[in-house]
Amino acid sequence: MLKYILKRLLLVFVVVLGVTVVTFSAMQSAPGDPAEMIAVARYGEDLTQEEIEWVRVTEGLDAPVYIQYLGWLEHVLRLDLGKSLITYEDVLEEILTRFPATLVLTISSLILSLLIALPIGIISAVRKNTIVDNACMTGALLGVSMPNFWLGLLLIWLFALSLGLLPSFGYGSIKHLILPTITLGTSMAAITTRLTRSSMLDVLNQDYIVTAKAKGLDEKTILLKHALKNAMLPVITFVGLQLGFLLGGAVIVETIFAWPGIGRLLVDSIYARDFALIQGCVLFIAVIFALANLAVDILYAYLDPRIRYEKK
């Protein structure tokens, strides 16, 4: 198992490295002169050509791309993500102050989505093709097809503007957390519900479920002990992948609700063309994503003895 984890960590490293190369080259090929945009952000609209050149030289923007990249990478390996090109704040520090907000939102959304998806998915599977099942699946379909920003705006309109029950944006209390969590959590729940249902249906058709019934066990034991653990295997893999979706969804939801997380930070840094900050955010998100997937794989191996023993 330890060897397996080490192998996977190496893979995480390779993936993250790949992501940084891609973002670095993407930013280079974006239109506009980066030195000029930074200079505008720092000194305002009226600039002289000297000021632009000054930025270009001091920020090393005149060197070839691969030199810029290697220089950046060397610092990263020393856990130094550099300073914001605009505010001069330390990038890592900036990210770490913003990260808790994203983490809170992600975890609360994940929990909400599982609280909705697991029971409904299981009930739908057990009551297959009944009114209950059809109602749940219609709801899930609506959830899947409803875009995040649209649901977010709808909730703001209903609960904040019309009813005045909850704040429409901001951060700091449980009340602020509710609307963004519902927006992000329900959209995730929709897909997880469908997967839980189909996985459960698949498992309920397996021979070992017939064996369990032939032992005279009751329905509860069969569902919760024999079926659920097997049905959870694909769901767990999927939820792990969805963490990426959550981080991506967080960008939109954080923007709508003015939630001061990494998503907002990334969007702001893109508008400002703050390369150091963009790189830092992307790197950070990639690392979190890869580590989350590793954690899921370990959990999976723990639940599925066939993998646990193979990987020993």
Partner: protein
């Protein structure tokens, strides 16, 4: 004494609008202390008969007839009552042990849970009983904490036997318990099952398409073809003088008897031929055979045949 009596059993699946007649007019009795073999080609409805007895067919099914056990019709019993019968009165070993054991539970737990659930005993005690059962079927109790995928085919089959016998049922239904095992393992499993069933005065319905296994274990044999029974007879009798043309052909197809395949193919269960189900493949067929459906008749004591070549005892000369 008859322990279980199946009367005119019909099992009809509705598979996307098409009716699959998986069992038709099946009459069969399982006696006390008897090992009854059910043989026939793959797809003829053997497993469905076993599953019907224990009440575990899928939902898209219509069931007719009666299955009488202890004066009660199992087909009309409530789920609660059936649960009391499953495992305790009638044990079941499903076909294919590699898919019939739960991959994420230890083999020990898959037996111990039966004791906890049915006998209401604690964890430790249930484990002890499971260990005893493991010894009985020839598995080292040390292996209780292993998972099914760590077991070989023969060992998995032993776990299936342990599950089937755990609660000491009156009847054990074993569905193809020797499929996929090599010759020596097959022999071991057959001897183990015979020994356990006989020593406990249990009855057994042995479903198999392996005539050698049936011959080694069974007292009587029922031959199934295209969802109905064609012949029932004591094992020596059926092997020495098979009556039904299909039984004769089936025996001739054995390796030991010349490996002569039966010409033609089994009919589809969605469109069974009129008249005798076997007539398209039968060398003795007459006009009657393609028009009328023969009834099962007792041509000699304990020997039932469904074929126009034979008449009732009384009708004979």
């Amino acid at each position: 004494m008859t322990l279980l009596k199946i009367e005119d059993l019909g099992v009809y699946f509705n598979a996307r609008g098409r009716i699959v007649k998986a069992n038709n007019g099946v009459d069969l009795e399982i006696e006390e202390n008897e090992i009854l073999g059910l043989i026939g080609e793959t797809g003829c409805g053997k497993s469905i008969l076993g599953r019907a007895i224990i009440g575990l067919l899928s939902e898209n099914v219509e069931i007719k007839g009666k299955i009488i056990y202890r004066r009660e019709n199992l087909l009309t019993l409530s789920e609660d009552k059936m649960r009391q019968i499953r495992g305790k009165e009638i044990g079941m070993m499903l076909q294919n042990p590699s898919t019939s054991l739960n991959p994420v539970l230890t083999v020990g737990e898959q037996i111990a849970e039966v004791y906890r659930y049915h006998e209401g005993i604690g964890k430790e005690e249930a484990r002890k009983k499971a260990a005893e059962t493991f010894k009985l079927v020839g598995i080292d109790p040390e292996r209780m904490d292993e998972y099914p995928h760590q077991f070989s085919g023969g060992m998995k089959q032993r776990v299936m036997i342990a599950i089937g016998l755990a609660l000491n049922p009156r009847i054990l239904i074993a569905d193809e318990p020797t499929t996929g095992l090599d010759y020596s393992m097959k022999k071991k499993i057959v001897d183990l099952m015979s020994e356990l069933v006989r020593s406990r005065n249990m009855s057994m319905l042995l479903i198999t398409h392996d005539l050698e296994v049936a011959k080694r274990m069974c007292d009587r044999i029922a031959v199934m073809y295209a969802s109905e029974l064609l012949e029932i007879a004591p094992v020596e009798k059926i092997l020495s003088e098979p009556k039904h043309p299909y039984t004769q052909d089936l025996l001739d197809s054995l390796p030991r008897r010349g490996l002569k395949p039966i010409p033609g193919a089994s009919p589809s269960l969605t469109s069974l031929p009129a008249g005798c189900r076997f007539h398209p493949r039968c060398r003795y067929k007459s006009d009657e055979c393609s028009e009328k459906h023969p009834e099962m008749i007792e041509i000699e004591a304990k020997n039932h045949v469904r074929c126009f070549l034979y008449k009732n005892d009384e009708n004979k000369g």
